[in-house]
Symmetry: C2
Protein backbone atom coordinates (compact mmCIF):
# COMPACT_ATOMS: atom_id res chain seq x y z
CA UNK A 1 0.00 0.00 0.00
CA UNK A 2 1.53 3.24 -1.14
CA UNK A 3 1.71 5.95 1.50
CA UNK A 4 0.67 9.51 0.72
CA UNK A 5 3.13 12.36 1.10
CA UNK A 6 2.56 16.11 1.06
CA UNK A 7 3.61 18.12 -1.98
CA UNK A 8 6.24 19.76 0.14
CA UNK A 9 7.73 16.43 1.19
CA UNK A 10 7.75 15.29 -2.41
CA UNK A 11 9.48 18.47 -3.53
CA UNK A 12 12.23 18.03 -0.98
CA UNK A 13 12.79 14.39 -1.96
CA UNK A 14 12.96 15.32 -5.62
CA UNK A 15 15.36 18.21 -5.01
CA UNK A 16 17.68 16.08 -2.87
CA UNK A 17 17.59 13.30 -5.46
CA UNK A 18 18.60 15.68 -8.24
CA UNK A 19 21.35 17.30 -6.16
CA UNK A 20 22.69 13.89 -5.21
CA UNK A 21 22.99 12.97 -8.88
CA UNK A 22 25.33 15.81 -9.72
CA UNK A 23 27.50 16.32 -6.62
CA UNK A 24 27.00 13.09 -4.75
CA UNK A 25 27.02 15.14 -1.59
CA UNK A 26 24.20 17.53 -0.74
CA UNK A 27 24.18 20.33 1.80
CA UNK A 28 21.43 22.17 3.62
CA UNK A 29 22.30 25.30 1.70
CA UNK A 30 22.08 23.50 -1.65
CA UNK A 31 18.56 22.37 -0.89
CA UNK A 32 17.52 25.80 0.40
CA UNK A 33 18.86 27.31 -2.78
CA UNK A 34 17.20 24.74 -5.05
CA UNK A 35 13.81 25.14 -3.39
CA UNK A 36 13.97 28.91 -2.93
CA UNK A 37 13.60 28.59 0.80
CA UNK A 38 15.68 29.15 3.96
CA UNK A 39 18.26 26.81 5.50
CA UNK A 40 16.27 26.73 8.73
CA UNK A 41 13.23 25.44 6.85
CA UNK A 42 15.37 22.76 5.27
CA UNK A 43 16.60 21.57 8.65
CA UNK A 44 13.00 21.36 9.84
CA UNK A 45 12.07 19.23 6.88
CA UNK A 46 15.15 17.02 7.20
CA UNK A 47 13.93 16.04 10.64
CA UNK A 48 10.52 15.17 9.29
CA UNK A 49 11.98 13.15 6.43
CA UNK A 50 14.18 11.29 8.88
CA UNK A 51 11.18 10.52 11.08
CA UNK A 52 9.46 9.04 8.01
CA UNK A 53 12.58 6.99 7.20
CA UNK A 54 12.95 8.69 3.84
CA UNK A 55 16.36 10.09 4.70
CA UNK A 56 19.55 9.13 6.58
CA UNK A 57 20.49 12.17 8.64
CA UNK A 58 22.78 13.11 11.50
CA UNK A 59 22.82 16.75 12.38
CA UNK A 60 25.82 18.76 11.23
CA UNK A 61 27.08 15.58 9.53
CA UNK A 62 25.10 15.66 6.29
CA UNK A 63 22.33 13.50 4.86
CA UNK A 64 21.25 11.35 1.94
CA UNK A 65 18.09 9.65 0.76
CA UNK A 66 17.24 6.21 2.10
CA UNK A 67 16.26 3.48 -0.34
CA UNK A 68 12.65 4.32 0.38
CA UNK A 69 13.30 8.03 -0.16
CA UNK A 70 14.97 7.35 -3.47
CA UNK A 71 12.06 5.16 -4.52
CA UNK A 72 9.56 7.91 -3.76
CA UNK A 73 11.69 10.52 -5.54
CA UNK A 74 11.84 8.35 -8.65
CA UNK A 75 8.08 8.03 -8.72
CA UNK A 76 7.70 11.81 -8.58
CA UNK A 77 10.21 12.18 -11.38
CA UNK A 78 8.36 9.53 -13.36
CA UNK A 79 5.13 11.47 -12.99
CA UNK A 80 6.77 14.78 -13.84
CA UNK A 81 8.31 13.48 -17.03
CA UNK A 82 5.26 11.53 -18.20
CA UNK A 83 3.11 14.61 -17.78
CA UNK A 84 5.66 16.68 -19.70
CA UNK A 85 5.57 14.13 -22.47
CA UNK A 86 1.79 14.25 -22.49
CA UNK A 87 1.70 18.03 -22.62
CA UNK A 88 4.09 18.19 -25.57
CA UNK A 89 2.93 15.18 -27.57
CA UNK A 90 -0.81 15.34 -27.00
CA UNK A 91 -1.60 18.94 -26.10
CA UNK A 92 0.99 20.55 -28.41
CA UNK A 93 2.79 22.56 -25.75
CA UNK A 94 6.33 23.72 -26.47
CA UNK A 95 8.98 21.72 -24.60
CA UNK A 96 10.03 24.93 -22.88
CA UNK A 97 6.66 25.74 -21.34
CA UNK A 98 5.74 22.43 -19.72
CA UNK A 99 7.98 22.35 -16.67
CA UNK A 100 5.88 24.61 -14.49
CA UNK A 101 2.65 22.76 -15.21
CA UNK A 102 4.30 19.40 -14.62
CA UNK A 103 5.49 20.68 -11.24
CA UNK A 104 1.85 20.72 -10.24
CA UNK A 105 0.72 17.57 -12.01
CA UNK A 106 3.50 15.47 -10.50
CA UNK A 107 1.77 15.62 -7.13
CA UNK A 108 -1.45 13.96 -8.28
CA UNK A 109 -1.42 10.80 -6.22
CA UNK A 110 -3.20 8.07 -8.18
CA UNK A 111 -0.74 5.38 -9.23
CA UNK A 112 -3.33 3.85 -11.51
CA UNK A 113 -3.65 7.17 -13.31
CA UNK A 114 0.04 7.44 -14.00
CA UNK A 115 0.34 3.84 -15.18
CA UNK A 116 -2.62 4.33 -17.52
CA UNK A 117 -1.11 7.53 -18.80
CA UNK A 118 2.18 5.75 -19.40
CA UNK A 119 0.38 3.11 -21.43
CA UNK A 120 -1.65 5.72 -23.32
CA UNK A 121 1.55 7.49 -24.31
CA UNK A 122 3.13 4.24 -25.49
CA UNK A 123 5.60 3.82 -22.62
CA UNK A 124 7.96 6.61 -23.70
CA UNK A 125 11.55 6.21 -22.51
CA UNK A 126 12.44 9.88 -22.27
CA UNK A 127 10.71 13.19 -21.80
CA UNK A 128 10.72 16.16 -24.21
CA UNK A 129 14.03 17.37 -22.77
CA UNK A 130 15.63 13.99 -23.40
CA UNK A 131 15.68 12.95 -19.75
CA UNK A 132 14.87 9.30 -19.05
CA UNK A 133 11.45 8.35 -17.67
CA UNK A 134 11.58 5.77 -14.85
CA UNK A 135 9.20 2.82 -15.28
CA UNK A 136 6.63 1.92 -12.63
CA UNK A 137 9.35 0.13 -10.66
CA UNK A 138 11.66 3.14 -10.71
CA UNK A 139 14.06 1.64 -13.26
CA UNK A 140 15.09 3.60 -16.29
CA UNK A 141 17.21 2.80 -19.30
CA UNK A 142 19.83 5.36 -20.06
CA UNK A 143 19.79 6.41 -23.69
CA UNK A 144 22.36 4.63 -25.82
CA UNK A 145 25.35 6.72 -26.81
CA UNK A 146 27.04 6.11 -30.20
CA UNK A 147 28.80 7.99 -32.97
CA UNK A 148 26.81 8.82 -36.09
CA UNK A 149 28.28 5.88 -38.03
CA UNK A 150 26.67 3.49 -35.58
CA UNK A 151 23.31 5.18 -35.37
CA UNK A 152 20.63 2.93 -36.93
CA UNK A 153 18.80 4.31 -39.97
CA UNK A 154 15.67 6.44 -39.34
CA UNK A 155 16.23 6.58 -35.61
CA UNK A 156 15.72 10.03 -34.13
CA UNK A 157 18.70 10.89 -31.94
CA UNK A 158 20.10 13.92 -30.16
CA UNK A 159 23.63 15.25 -30.50
CA UNK A 160 25.26 14.78 -27.10
CA UNK A 161 28.97 15.48 -27.62
CA UNK A 162 31.54 16.30 -30.27
CA UNK A 163 34.84 14.37 -30.41
CA UNK A 164 37.08 16.71 -32.41
CA UNK A 165 36.41 20.22 -31.20
CA UNK A 166 38.83 22.00 -33.54
CA UNK A 167 37.64 25.34 -34.93
CA UNK A 168 37.49 23.79 -38.40
CA UNK A 169 35.15 21.02 -37.25
CA UNK A 170 32.96 23.43 -35.31
CA UNK A 171 32.73 25.71 -38.33
CA UNK A 172 31.66 22.79 -40.50
CA UNK A 173 29.09 21.60 -37.98
CA UNK A 174 27.79 25.12 -37.51
CA UNK A 175 27.36 25.40 -41.24
CA UNK A 176 25.44 22.11 -41.46
CA UNK A 177 23.23 23.13 -38.54
CA UNK A 178 24.54 20.55 -36.10
CA UNK A 179 25.02 21.54 -32.46
CA UNK A 180 24.64 19.99 -29.03
CA UNK A 181 21.01 19.09 -28.57
CA UNK A 182 20.23 19.00 -32.28
CA UNK A 183 17.77 16.23 -33.16
CA UNK A 184 18.50 14.31 -36.34
CA UNK A 185 18.27 10.95 -38.05
CA UNK A 186 20.39 9.08 -40.59
CA UNK A 187 18.46 8.61 -43.82
CA UNK A 188 21.09 6.97 -46.01
CA UNK A 189 24.52 5.38 -45.66
CA UNK A 190 26.83 5.22 -48.68
CA UNK A 191 28.98 2.11 -48.49
CA UNK A 192 31.44 3.61 -50.99
CA UNK A 193 32.93 6.17 -48.61
CA UNK A 194 30.83 5.76 -45.46
CA UNK A 195 29.38 9.20 -45.94
CA UNK A 196 25.90 9.81 -44.49
CA UNK A 197 22.81 11.67 -45.45
CA UNK A 198 21.14 13.23 -42.43
CA UNK A 199 17.73 14.73 -41.83
CA UNK A 200 18.15 17.45 -39.27
CA UNK A 201 15.02 18.43 -37.42
CA UNK A 202 13.33 21.52 -38.84
CA UNK A 203 15.91 21.70 -41.64
CA UNK A 204 16.69 20.10 -44.98
CA UNK A 205 18.96 17.13 -45.66
CA UNK A 206 22.73 17.42 -45.33
CA UNK A 207 25.60 15.09 -46.15
CA UNK A 208 28.56 14.45 -43.85
CA UNK A 209 31.78 12.50 -44.38
CA UNK A 210 32.89 9.45 -42.40
CA UNK A 211 35.44 11.62 -40.62
CA UNK A 212 32.78 14.00 -39.37
CA UNK A 213 30.39 11.15 -38.51
CA UNK A 214 33.02 9.51 -36.30
CA UNK A 215 33.26 12.67 -34.22
CA UNK A 216 29.60 13.38 -33.64
CA UNK A 217 28.10 11.46 -30.74
CA UNK A 218 24.40 11.09 -30.26
CA UNK A 219 22.04 9.47 -27.80
CA UNK A 220 18.83 7.66 -28.60
CA UNK A 221 16.33 5.34 -26.92
CA UNK A 222 16.19 1.53 -27.07
Amino acid sequence: MSVKYTSSTENYLKAIFHLQKSDGIVTTNDVANELQTRPASVTDMLKKLKAQKLLIYEKYKGFKLSNEGRKVALQIIRKHRLWEYFLVEKLSFGWDEVHEIAEELEHISSKKLIDRLDEYLGFPKSDPHGDPIPDSNGKFTLPKQVDLLNLPLNKVAEVSSIGDQSPEMLELLGDKGIALGTKLEVKKKFAFDNSLELKIKNQSMVTVSEHVAKNVFVKYDE
Copy 2:
Protein backbone atom coordinates in the same frame (compact mmCIF):
# COMPACT_ATOMS: atom_id res chain seq x y z
CA MET B 1 -5.32 38.24 -14.76
CA SER B 2 -6.68 35.18 -13.00
CA VAL B 3 -6.01 35.05 -9.26
CA LYS B 4 -4.83 31.88 -7.59
CA TYR B 5 -6.90 30.26 -4.84
CA THR B 6 -6.04 27.47 -2.41
CA SER B 7 -7.50 24.00 -2.95
CA SER B 8 -9.50 24.50 0.21
CA THR B 9 -11.02 27.74 -1.04
CA GLU B 10 -11.88 26.10 -4.33
CA ASN B 11 -13.52 23.17 -2.57
CA TYR B 12 -15.72 25.46 -0.53
CA LEU B 13 -16.79 27.46 -3.59
CA LYS B 14 -17.62 24.29 -5.46
CA ALA B 15 -19.59 22.83 -2.56
CA ILE B 16 -21.59 26.01 -2.04
CA PHE B 17 -22.29 26.24 -5.76
CA HIS B 18 -23.64 22.69 -5.86
CA LEU B 19 -25.76 23.17 -2.74
CA GLN B 20 -27.17 26.42 -4.13
CA LYS B 21 -28.28 24.55 -7.25
CA SER B 22 -30.50 22.14 -5.39
CA ASP B 23 -31.94 24.10 -2.43
CA GLY B 24 -31.33 27.65 -3.45
CA ILE B 25 -30.53 28.35 0.17
CA VAL B 26 -27.40 26.97 1.80
CA THR B 27 -26.62 26.66 5.48
CA THR B 28 -23.40 26.36 7.43
CA ASN B 29 -24.38 22.84 8.41
CA ASP B 30 -25.00 21.84 4.81
CA VAL B 31 -21.53 22.89 3.83
CA ALA B 32 -19.93 21.21 6.84
CA ASN B 33 -21.76 18.04 5.94
CA GLU B 34 -20.85 18.20 2.27
CA LEU B 35 -17.18 18.79 2.97
CA GLN B 36 -16.90 16.41 5.91
CA THR B 37 -15.79 19.14 8.23
CA ARG B 38 -17.11 21.07 11.24
CA PRO B 39 -19.52 24.03 11.25
CA ALA B 40 -16.91 26.12 13.05
CA SER B 41 -14.46 25.52 10.22
CA VAL B 42 -17.09 26.56 7.71
CA THR B 43 -17.70 29.83 9.53
CA ASP B 44 -13.97 30.51 9.48
CA MET B 45 -13.85 29.96 5.74
CA LEU B 46 -16.99 32.03 5.11
CA LYS B 47 -15.18 34.98 6.60
CA LYS B 48 -12.19 34.42 4.34
CA LEU B 49 -14.39 34.05 1.28
CA LYS B 50 -16.19 37.24 2.17
CA ALA B 51 -12.88 39.07 2.56
CA GLN B 52 -11.97 37.89 -0.94
CA LYS B 53 -15.34 39.06 -2.27
CA LEU B 54 -16.26 35.57 -3.40
CA LEU B 55 -19.28 35.45 -1.12
CA ILE B 56 -22.07 37.67 0.20
CA TYR B 57 -22.31 36.98 3.92
CA GLU B 58 -23.85 38.43 7.03
CA LYS B 59 -23.41 36.41 10.15
CA TYR B 60 -26.39 34.40 11.35
CA LYS B 61 -28.25 35.63 8.25
CA GLY B 62 -26.97 33.22 5.63
CA PHE B 63 -24.75 33.56 2.57
CA LYS B 64 -24.50 33.04 -1.18
CA LEU B 65 -21.81 33.19 -3.83
CA SER B 66 -21.00 36.53 -5.41
CA ASN B 67 -20.77 36.75 -9.19
CA GLU B 68 -17.04 36.34 -8.87
CA GLY B 69 -17.45 33.34 -6.57
CA ARG B 70 -19.82 31.70 -9.01
CA LYS B 71 -17.38 32.33 -11.83
CA VAL B 72 -14.55 30.66 -9.95
CA ALA B 73 -16.77 27.72 -8.96
CA LEU B 74 -17.74 27.18 -12.59
CA GLN B 75 -14.11 27.05 -13.64
CA ILE B 76 -13.38 24.38 -11.04
CA ILE B 77 -16.38 22.40 -12.22
CA ARG B 78 -15.20 22.82 -15.80
CA LYS B 79 -11.83 21.40 -14.88
CA HIS B 80 -13.31 18.55 -12.88
CA ARG B 81 -15.58 17.44 -15.69
CA LEU B 82 -13.02 17.80 -18.47
CA TRP B 83 -10.57 15.67 -16.52
CA GLU B 84 -13.28 13.08 -15.91
CA TYR B 85 -13.99 13.01 -19.61
CA PHE B 86 -10.30 12.61 -20.34
CA LEU B 87 -9.92 9.76 -17.86
CA VAL B 88 -12.85 7.84 -19.31
CA GLU B 89 -12.40 8.54 -23.00
CA LYS B 90 -8.62 8.51 -23.29
CA LEU B 91 -7.37 6.45 -20.37
CA SER B 92 -10.23 3.91 -20.33
CA PHE B 93 -11.25 4.44 -16.74
CA GLY B 94 -14.74 3.41 -15.67
CA TRP B 95 -17.11 6.33 -15.18
CA ASP B 96 -17.51 5.26 -11.56
CA GLU B 97 -13.82 5.47 -10.65
CA VAL B 98 -12.88 8.90 -11.97
CA HIS B 99 -14.43 11.23 -9.43
CA GLU B 100 -11.73 10.91 -6.79
CA ILE B 101 -8.91 11.49 -9.25
CA ALA B 102 -10.69 14.47 -10.78
CA GLU B 103 -11.04 15.94 -7.29
CA GLU B 104 -7.27 16.31 -7.32
CA LEU B 105 -6.82 17.28 -10.96
CA GLU B 106 -9.40 20.07 -10.75
CA HIS B 107 -6.97 22.12 -8.66
CA ILE B 108 -4.23 22.27 -11.28
CA SER B 109 -4.09 25.97 -11.99
CA SER B 110 -2.99 26.45 -15.60
CA LYS B 111 -5.81 27.90 -17.67
CA LYS B 112 -3.90 27.22 -20.84
CA LEU B 113 -3.69 23.56 -19.89
CA ILE B 114 -7.40 23.21 -19.42
CA ASP B 115 -8.24 25.04 -22.64
CA ARG B 116 -5.81 22.84 -24.57
CA LEU B 117 -7.28 19.75 -22.94
CA ASP B 118 -10.76 20.91 -23.90
CA GLU B 119 -9.66 21.30 -27.50
CA TYR B 120 -7.85 17.94 -27.46
CA LEU B 121 -11.02 16.24 -26.28
CA GLY B 122 -13.10 17.92 -28.98
CA PHE B 123 -14.96 20.40 -26.74
CA PRO B 124 -17.23 17.82 -25.09
CA LYS B 125 -20.54 19.18 -23.79
CA SER B 126 -21.01 16.79 -20.90
CA ASP B 127 -18.94 14.55 -18.69
CA PRO B 128 -19.19 10.76 -18.33
CA HIS B 129 -22.01 11.16 -15.79
CA GLY B 130 -23.99 13.30 -18.20
CA ASP B 131 -23.35 16.56 -16.36
CA PRO B 132 -22.74 19.61 -18.55
CA ILE B 133 -19.20 20.98 -18.96
CA PRO B 134 -18.98 24.78 -18.76
CA ASP B 135 -16.99 26.43 -21.55
CA SER B 136 -14.03 28.68 -20.86
CA ASN B 137 -16.41 31.57 -20.14
CA GLY B 138 -18.42 29.54 -17.66
CA LYS B 139 -21.40 29.08 -19.96
CA PHE B 140 -22.88 25.67 -20.49
CA THR B 141 -25.67 24.34 -22.62
CA LEU B 142 -28.17 22.32 -20.69
CA PRO B 143 -28.89 18.99 -22.30
CA LYS B 144 -32.09 18.96 -24.36
CA GLN B 145 -35.03 17.28 -22.70
CA VAL B 146 -37.58 15.41 -24.87
CA ASP B 147 -39.80 12.36 -24.78
CA LEU B 148 -38.64 9.24 -26.58
CA LEU B 149 -40.81 9.95 -29.63
CA ASN B 150 -38.83 13.13 -30.27
CA LEU B 151 -35.38 11.71 -29.66
CA PRO B 152 -33.44 11.67 -32.96
CA LEU B 153 -32.32 8.28 -34.25
CA ASN B 154 -28.97 6.92 -33.01
CA LYS B 155 -28.52 9.66 -30.46
CA VAL B 156 -27.32 8.40 -27.06
CA ALA B 157 -29.55 9.85 -24.36
CA GLU B 158 -30.19 9.33 -20.68
CA VAL B 159 -33.54 8.68 -19.05
CA SER B 160 -34.28 11.72 -16.89
CA SER B 161 -37.91 11.37 -15.83
CA ILE B 162 -41.02 9.24 -16.25
CA GLY B 163 -44.40 10.82 -16.99
CA ASP B 164 -46.86 8.13 -15.98
CA GLN B 165 -45.61 6.62 -12.76
CA SER B 166 -48.36 4.03 -12.34
CA PRO B 167 -47.28 0.62 -11.00
CA GLU B 168 -48.16 -0.92 -14.36
CA MET B 169 -45.87 1.45 -16.24
CA LEU B 170 -43.07 0.97 -13.76
CA GLU B 171 -43.40 -2.78 -14.00
CA LEU B 172 -43.19 -2.61 -17.78
CA LEU B 173 -40.18 -0.32 -17.70
CA GLY B 174 -38.45 -2.46 -15.10
CA ASP B 175 -38.99 -5.46 -17.31
CA LYS B 176 -37.50 -3.71 -20.34
CA GLY B 177 -34.53 -2.53 -18.31
CA ILE B 178 -35.41 1.15 -18.38
CA ALA B 179 -34.85 3.26 -15.27
CA LEU B 180 -33.75 6.76 -14.36
CA GLY B 181 -30.21 7.23 -15.61
CA THR B 182 -30.41 4.43 -18.18
CA LYS B 183 -28.52 5.27 -21.36
CA LEU B 184 -30.18 4.31 -24.60
CA GLU B 185 -30.72 5.24 -28.23
CA VAL B 186 -33.58 4.89 -30.71
CA LYS B 187 -32.61 2.55 -33.54
CA LYS B 188 -35.84 2.37 -35.51
CA LYS B 189 -39.20 4.16 -35.66
CA PHE B 190 -42.21 2.37 -37.11
CA ALA B 191 -44.50 4.83 -38.79
CA PHE B 192 -47.37 2.37 -38.65
CA ASP B 193 -47.98 2.58 -34.91
CA ASN B 194 -45.17 4.91 -33.74
CA SER B 195 -43.59 2.07 -31.83
CA LEU B 196 -39.84 2.26 -31.31
CA GLU B 197 -36.92 -0.11 -31.25
CA LEU B 198 -34.41 0.88 -28.60
CA LYS B 199 -30.84 -0.14 -27.90
CA ILE B 200 -30.33 0.01 -24.17
CA LYS B 201 -26.76 0.33 -23.02
CA ASN B 202 -25.23 -3.00 -21.99
CA GLN B 203 -28.39 -4.83 -23.01
CA SER B 204 -30.13 -6.14 -26.09
CA MET B 205 -32.78 -4.38 -28.20
CA VAL B 206 -36.30 -3.80 -26.92
CA THR B 207 -39.49 -2.50 -28.48
CA VAL B 208 -41.79 0.03 -26.84
CA SER B 209 -45.20 1.37 -27.84
CA GLU B 210 -46.04 4.98 -28.61
CA HIS B 211 -47.85 5.20 -25.30
CA VAL B 212 -44.74 4.19 -23.39
CA ALA B 213 -42.49 6.40 -25.52
CA LYS B 214 -44.60 9.47 -24.73
CA ASN B 215 -44.01 8.95 -21.04
CA VAL B 216 -40.28 8.39 -20.99
CA PHE B 217 -38.27 11.62 -20.97
CA VAL B 218 -34.59 11.70 -21.82
CA LYS B 219 -31.84 14.28 -22.07
CA TYR B 220 -29.11 14.47 -24.68
CA ASP B 221 -26.51 16.93 -25.96
CA GLU B 222 -26.77 19.32 -28.92
